[in-house]
């Protein structure tokens, strides 16, 4: 849960220090309504570092009927090359390295075999030497910000009382379009609610009632 905006910092830390607890104060983006600004290096770093793990986990991917949409494939290959460059690598990614540059669900999908992915990623590499690490990160974000689930906060949902789905587990995605319940594998939207987003972010998830 985010700290209350009116909270005194030293009130928070005094308690924890008194109890001998180790803690971190972490800054991050929680609402993604404003468009990205790719003009500040630190901004790009912060946003990239927040988005990249979700991307690699596969959360941003929507794969209807468990099939990778055709237009997404070249984007994933390009992002893989950009991620490699963003990590300050100067050599083309190897077969082994490409595995870590693709979103997890992609590795087991039938659309492309691993050698095909490696070839596509390596083909994208030729453009990379001209980029700095920051430029690579910015380009990554530039591609991803057009994806439907970009800018979502994701939560695991264990149970929904609804007639719409027989599966117990879902993913809850909160973003600028509202509240979405996603199928856990395909990330296709099952239920959508155009709730007021800012009030939701600041209320405990447990109190959301549908």
């Amino acid at each position: 849960m985010p700290l209350n905006k009116d909270e005194y910092i030293l009130d928070v830390t005094t308690d924890l220090i008194k109890n001998g607890q180790l803690f971190y104060l972490i800054f991050c983006r929680s609402v993604w309504y404003h468009p990205l600004r790719l003009d500040s290096h630190l901004y790009i770093e912060v946003i990239f570092n927040q988005v990249a793990p979700d991307y690699l986990e596969g959360l941003l991917l929507v794969i209807p009927e468990e099939r990778l949409p055709e237009d997404v494939i070249p984007q994933i290959a390009r992002i893989a090359a950009l991620l490699h460059r963003a990590a300050d690598m100067e050599q083309m990614p190897t077969k082994e390295e490409v595995k870590y540059l693709l979103p997890k669900p992609v590795l087991v999908m039938r659309e492309l075999r691993p050698p095909q992915w490696v070839e596509m990623v390596q083909n994208n590499w030729t453009d990379m030497s001209a980029l700095t690490t920051i430029e690579a990160k910015a380009q990554c974000l530039d591609i991803l910000q057009k994806w439907q689930l970009f800018g979502s906060c994701f939560f695991a949902v264990k149970r929904i009382q609804s007639d719409l789905s027989t599966q117990p587990d879902h993913i809850l995605a909160l973003n600028r379009e509202g509240v979405h319940f996603l199928d856990i594998i395909t990330h296709v939207i099952i239920v959508i609610s155009h709730h007021c987003l800012s009030s939701l972010v600041h209320s405990p998830i447990a109190s959301l009632v549908f």
Binding site: D6, K18, W32, E45, I47, Q50
Partner: protein, 126 residues
């Protein structure tokens, strides 16, 4: 004191007048202290008094003339930024400072960012 406790409605205008007079007159001995008091008091009126009694470290620091602590804040990816955090610094202030570092000046855009407190081995407080 001004950072911790609010005062009664009756006292408030007199307290303010006293602090403002001292703060704005550079010839007065305690004008700097009065300025700090005034700022802290305004914060207290806006956000309420401090919830917790200050720690020994905080009192020692203030007595030694150090009004703020060099507090570390983590950014996604692991890098850290040190921001001077005083008795009256609230979460909004820190978010504002970091947003300025990111090139964000629009207060509405700043509302999209948050501060979280992660405790080793447990969930965040409150």
């Amino acid at each position: 004191m001004a950072a911790y406790f609010d005062c009664s409605e009756l006292l408030r205008p007199y307290l303010f007048k006293y602090l403002e007079t001292t703060a704005f007159d550079k010839r007065r001995t305690f004008h700097v202290t009065a300025e700090v008091c005034l700022q802290n008091l305004k914060k207290t009126f806006k956000y309420g008094g401090r919830k917790n009694v200050p720690s020994i470290e905080e009192i020692a620091a203030i007595s030694a003339g150090r009004n703020s602590k060099r507090q570390m804040y983590r950014l996604p990816g692991g890098t850290e930024r040190i921001i001077n955090t005083s008795s009256s610094t609230v979460v909004t202030d820190v978010i504002q400072d970091i947003c300025h570092m990111l090139g964000i000046t629009n207060p509405i855009e700043m509302e999209e960012f948050s501060l979280y407190c992660i405790i080793e081995g447990g969930l965040s407080p409150r």
